[in-house]
Symmetry: C2
Subunit: 343 residues, 2 copies
DNA sequence: GAAAAAACTTTACGCGCGTAAATTTTTGAC
DNA sequence: GTCAAAAATTTACGCGCGTAAAGTTTTTTC
């Protein structure tokens, strides 16, 4: 026998000296067979490089070992980081992650969900686009596939939502900025793609009123996911109008802040918390590049690990626990203030 | 019949009034059936949301419609951008992209290839880690799966290699820098992960000699994929030693340059091509973030579209054309010099 | 060491679809 | 309208594996 090519589980069972149903059992759960049997199979496994045909396996199993991961924009390092964390946890649990990016578009998001449905995943971890999402498509999807939302919530959709507590982000930055200098004005996109942006604005207004200051919101125009350029162009427009050239600016997110800082630099403005600075800039997200901006960016960090860990735990509880009748879990993790040079 | 749930192609064929083999033919290629037949199937398709079971399909087809895309580090926006471009082309060709990141590690790269083999992809577009790659694993993989390498070449592996012409990148930046000011010193990692880095150093030395200047290479220490931090720490170390504080610095890649610029800013050094600047900094890659550095970064841009397009075309030629006896295609696309404020 | 329990083997069926061969129907050209 | 070509239908088998049932062997328990 040795030397032949192994074409299927039948062949492999033959060379390992174990019956095919037992070999099948082994591949589903190596601990479900006797130790001596396991050893014989594993001995055969490193003589031949057989592995079960994944398509035949998934055709017959009631449930695949696939976990879908959908993010709105993978080129945004924030999402690629959280996707990476989630991926690692999914693999550790013995499942196969399937990573899809919606590239900022509704059509691609819908295609991704459509594609996932035909893959019959055991569950899906889904960060929706937000405002641009097609709610009815998502609702239908969630009815068919166990889904946990993360990052952006959509009311009532999915079995749970795990995200960051936007109010915590803004409360901490506003409190710090007010305590350490002039109260901040808020810098954001006029029509943000993401529901978190709205929560941040609302939280800003509430926090400012709590601190006894008048909230001032500066909205800039621009569509799409090129936030840095929108921030840069918006900052230049503001400077041209004589606005935001001094005091403190709190950006809705780091990518806008990166653009804002670039514009400030181009104008020769000095940003920072030192005496000789023209203005302070802070933001939210702790984007991977925010420590390399000039100056480095004071921001509020997501708890990546907590969000990723909780989301993954949730989906596996759903998968293994079956139907849960408990109320929809909506957990928000607080931010961690990161003080750097910009404010 | 209407109202029933469609469980398989048999059911669907029944409600559409067409025989199952013909319906099967339709799903393999809608143009292979008569127009009237196509209309009847498509009429049924929007009354029921049937789609063929992808696992049963792939089990029986000699070839799946999957195209693997493996990149070394998806959190690097350079790779997420090129992955996005490739993905779009693959989808347009009617195939399903499967995106995997090696997260900078050999083990993950091997796992990715292993995982892909069991998915029986029609072809794979593979950007290897480079120095950290397990060459023997990759060689074995390429024997079993039609593979086109991109970004980093590995001698003789895969059916083709499509990448950027590192010499073109460096020639253009060196020529420009020499023409417009002091000749550059080269700033790079001591043990770069990527073979492109070595080609760039070699090209730098050759270009400098051509220009009649002595090449000076400054190597910084650091492991892993946190290039920005390695660049920042390396720059600070250089400044501490009184090096690179004036003149012109050419970084091996933009991510190092981002760290270098951050360090320069922290030192209060003025970077740029204006009279009052302390030094000039340029680099290579046109990283998505490079236009938002302070100052914006003069760099050499990859031709994303050309590389992605050629790589995708190559893999489909392999898939559809069968065995090619022609010599291994190694195409390198030249860079485009991007002049910004830093040099 | 006997009985009970656990693990394994044998046999067999079905999953949903690709695909081949033989037959029947439809189409298009004259 | 005829006839050849094209397309559809009927019938049938096989892909590789999950899984159930019944029988056999091995292990555990006291």
């Amino acid at each position: 026998m040795p030397g032949d090519t192994i074409r299927n589980m039948e062949d492999f069972a033959a060379v390992s000296g174990i019956s095919r149903p037992t070999v099948s059992k082994y591949f589903n759960n190596p601990d479900s067979v006797r130790a001596t049997t396991r050893e014989r199979i594993e001995a055969a496994l490193d003589r031949y490089d057989y592995r079960p045909n994944i398509y035949a396996v998934n055709q017959n199993r009631q449930q695949t070992k696939n976990i879908g991961i959908v993010v709105p924009f993978l080129s945004d390092p924030f999402f690629s980081e959280i996707a990476r964390t989630i991926e690692a946890l999914v693999i550790a649990a013995g499942y196969r992650p399937i990573l899809l990016s919606s590239h900022g578009g509704q059509e691609q998001e819908n295609d991704n969900l459509d594609s996932l449905r035909s893959l019959k995943p055991a569950g899906v971890l889904f960060a929706p686009l937000g405002r641009a999402s097609d709610k009815s498509v998502i609702e239908t999807f969630c009815k068919h596939v166990p889904t946990v939302l993360f990052d952006s919530n959509l009311d009532g959709m999915g079995e749970a939502f795990i995200g960051s507590d936007n109010a915590s982000f803004v409360d901490q930055t506003v409190e710090y900025l007010c305590r350490s200098g002039e109260p901040p004005r808020f810098f954001e996109m006029r029509t943000p793609a993401n529901p978190n942006a709205n929560k941040r604005r609302t939280a800003y207004i509430a926090a400012m009123e709590r601190e006894g200051h008048e909230p001032i919101v500066h909205k800039v125009t621009g569509e799409g996911w090129g936030f840095e350029e929108i921030g840069r162009a918006g900052a230049h427009a503001a400077f041209d109008a004589g606005q935001l050239t001094s005091g403190t600016v709190l950006c809705s997110n780091d990518r806008l802040a990166i653009g804002f800082l670039a514009a400030a630099y181009e104008r020769g403005m000095r940003v920072g918390r030192t005496e000789d600075s023209d203005l302070r800039v802070a933001s939210h997200d702790d984007h991977p590049f925010s420590r390399f901006t000039c100056p480095s960016l004071t921001t509020a960090a997501h708890d990546y690990d907590a969000v990723a860990g909780h989301a993954v735990r949730s989906i596996f509880e759903l998968i293994e626990g079956g139907e849960d009748t408990s109320p929809r879990d909506e957990t928000l993790y607080p931010a961690r203030l990161i003080l750097r040079a910009s404010a």
